[in-house]
Subunit: 317 residues, 4 copies
């Protein structure tokens, strides 16, 4: 199921060179379907503020709560509307090899620039199985590997990454294990994006990382752009850090979803099993916005504390 159309091809080098990639939020209508109007606004804010790539349907974008047809549709939509302005990286990974193959074929067919692949979380497998899993998708196009043992229950060891890196389609790794691991890779010319917003400044400026795949940049894309492009800047990093800590006090994207709703850029609709942060935390966020400066955050409306009954939780959609 290949296409040789030029428009469906992106070079791996194009992917390797980008520094700020946002794991974009997926906003919802009150019935739980995608709110594409809000989504488009979010993507436009990223483009305007200097993000160079988006992960569509990542864990932040709640790919795990999408049916595959929704997921591929969102990738296709993004590439159709914004493919000329930003790199579109589809999270077509899965713990099922069949699903990963099918989704990755479809994602490249609708034009995504690169795929993000995870090791088989939850079900897990042996290292041989892991390599077989990733090998079955790596031939399809530019690929970023994602290592996040705190979610998957299993580390992708450096030995596996070195094997995968032989492939001409291997663009690099989104690494969450820490800066020692980052250093280990960058020392061997493997492209790394930090997967931890709290470490990414150091990853970039002290450990050779190319950039970050960020959650926080959904909120303050301009500041994250500066953090990745403007040279070592501990004071900017320190300014952002309280926001990062607030964002990750509960499993992502709970904090992000709560924040974006309070900024008025998405409807306060949650797909279960995600629920908003409690009131006290929501008040904290408003204070953080004031501290850091409303102008650094996405959206134009006043930030405000939402009441419990303003949130809509959907379980069937």
């Amino acid at each position: 199921m290949r296409s040789f159309e030029v428009k469906n091809r992106t070079s791996v080098d194009d992917i390797k060179s980008i520094r700020l990639i946002t794991a974009i939020k997926t906003p919802y209508l009150p019935d739980g379907r995608f709110d594409l109007e809000a989504y488009d606004a979010l993507v436009n804010m990223q483009i305007e503020n200097g993000a160079e790539g988006v992960i569509v349907g990542g864990t932040t974008g709640e790919g795990q709560l999408m049916s595959w047809d929704e997921h591929i549709m969102l990738i296709g939509h993004t590439i159709n509307c914004y493919g000329g302005s930003i790199k579109v990286i589809g999270n077509t990974g899965s713990n099922s090899t069949r699903e990963a193959i099918h989704a990755t074929e479809q994602g490249f067919a609708v034009g995504m620039h690169a795929a993000l692949h995870i090791n088989p979380y939850y079900g897990k497998t042996s290292l041989e199985g892991l390599v077989a899993h990733l090998d079955s998708v790596l031939s399809m196009g530019p690929t970023i590997i994602y290592n996040v043992p705190s979610r998957t229950g299993q580390d992708i060891p450096a030995s596996v990454v070195h094997t995968l890196a032989q492939s001409p389609n291997f663009a690099g790794i989104k690494e969450c294990v820490g800066n020692d691991r980052v250093q280990e890779y960058t020392g061997k010319k493997i492209v790394v994006w930090s997967g931890n917003d709290d470490e990414c400044h150091d990853s970039r400026w002290s450990h050779g990382a190319t950039g970050v795949i960020s959650v926080t940049s959904n909120l303050v894309p301009g500041l994250m752009r500066q953090l990745m492009f403007g040279g070592k800047n501990p004071s900017l990093n320190a300014k952002i850090m309280p926001l990062v800590k607030w964002l990750f006090q509960e499993p992502n994207p709970i904090g992000l979803n709560t924040a974006l709703a309070q900024l008025g850029v998405v409807r306060p609709v949650f797909r279960l099993p995600y629920v908003p942060l409690p009131l006290a935390k929501r008040v904290e966020f408003v204070n953080l916005v004031k501290q850091i400066g409303r102008e650094n955050f996405v959206g134009e409306k006043d930030v405000r504390v939402l009441d419990d009954d303003e949130f809509v939780l959907v379980s069937r959609y």
Copy 2:
């Protein structure tokens, strides 16, 4: 689930003005998956020879044999690669209102220019039900209605079409009932595309039809272009007619699939319940190609009679 992105919007007038729309063939790999490389070549041949639109996943393209995710992927792929060169009309119709809504939302989300909608075939419904069905999708974007009672078991009467035509999204009707019906619509300024290749010359030049949604143009796009643009031309029409008759001796796309395989532009792979025409008919096609002129047909290879054992029939894919 709306998007206001300009790139996702096409005007109804843009659809109304096109004359040659090809109900494009979907080619397959031996395992039954889409052969996108061959598909891309087919679409390019259409563009080069003057077709202005394609129906993706129509009955000719065997939408009825696709899962919806395949179907939407193919629409997204087509728009991504060719949306600037040709109008992409997704056949997102269904006899299930739920499916029609879901597919049409997704089709417009990935950027299709217009939708093709059928009345509920097989299950059928009352006229009130039919209007409710079509109303539920008409608001989403430019729409062509498709009337083919020999397949659906139920005519869409003119009264219903007049009602639908009030919608600003109504582009026109693909009508298969005959030229009296065509005349009835064009007399009232309703745009009509003939759905019968054997009648389309007269529909266009004697009954006010705007053009044709054609099967035959998969094979001889240049001749069909001439037939729709070059003025009344009974001798050209007579030249094409034996090919048209050959094509429709069995339910479409059996003839088309057999022909394209023998022209060497698609692999001889059939998804069941379609099977190739028998050998004697395959010999007839080769003779027809010689009569009409190989140079008028798509592809560069010699046309040849395929043996029975060269065909691959797939039932699981």
Copy 3:
């Protein structure tokens, strides 16, 4: 994907001998999901009144509006709860061979007693294609073939049926073309169930049909039992006929859905594209019930005329 478990096997002869099969209605909750509690009540009424089989997810049961997983679930539910009391025949046919194969494998795996198969409606195919389509499912278990050209747009000719009848799994044909065709089959010992309630009395008693696959028996199962078992009975037939005519004035199951709602045995919920009959027709039904006798109809509540605003139409579910 075979199972040799005895509990998963039914003999073809067991299917051949049953006379009254009801194409059972699928009732819905207000959100469009199945109302299993109401469904169970409907099936129990059939069992109590002498129906010997049910078609699950037929056109009457709106299989065309189900996702396949709903469809198979309903078959599995029916077999689990009632498989010991009534034959469960799953409508696992499709115009897509792939879907027909997948659904039929699954239906037999969850224990259905027999499959109902249709020729490829809408997409249609050649006779060779039709035979290939049906051959691909006939090996899986006891099978009834369904011929209804007014829906499919294509007759299954006797020659094809004679070929299929060679299979040990061929149980018989549900034939809608009329009593001449019925006679043609029964003269050759092919089991026939009438698919037309208005003809079934004559099919059974004058043309050798084994019985009927009935819509009307959803409403008056006891009368239909008598019609099929009690010997030639023109006066009973005449008594039922006005109800039959009322039921089929619009495409089935519009009349049936309206009737069952007014009898108080299902919620007045319609999945689009079906909509209720208009008020005047609903009044007629109440009069018919009084004429024929409330006691002959399913349910215990008074029949009543429902108002327009009591009906719920669902398009997303």
Copy 4:
């Protein structure tokens, strides 16, 4: 979507009292579809050797590699054939609340006796989100909660379990965290099944566990039955332990799949990302069988070391 049919209901107490539950293997045909014939044989072996329940489509049964329709079909098949002889517990859990709800409704509709539910792995959520997730399915029928932080990346704390235990549908917990946690629950009359074969003897006899949900019992059901019913038996436990250690050297079900293939009871077919253990380990297994006694293992054939090229790995199915 409820059913009040008696046949569709099982009491929570019936679930609470069973001690040996096997997380049953799903065997495959060479094309990756279910091998129901082999599956039936496996279930029969469990029944004959005293297992009282099976988990269908657990992580051992590779539910994570099934489409939901396959998954529900397998539950329906199992209940239909064996529901009278063994309790059928469907693993209808998911990290997506929507999927968990849909699958659990369908599983109970086709007759499963109880559901197994996991916390949202990989995507994770807050404790409030976790409770909301489980609450949305707990009302549907008897439920076992499954805690396995090494797979999910997140512990279900005792506080949450105590909350869930208020529900009349809460049957108990499959706990993998260890015997201190087991003790904590059993001290409060919460039913616990050990999820660790290496600890289950002590869980059962020293920490109040009711029994085990076992992987090892796929291989030696009789011995596991004895271990759970025959009183404290350290020597039997010691005898089994080398097998348990062998089984879990790689993520389950890699060892189990390899073992069952070598015992000749399933075809040596793996769905990726699972691959067989390497040759040296396969030799070890044959030796273990000889040590423990072939007669204690399922199947009748000689155990043998399979060659690499006897295994079939499938990625599309």
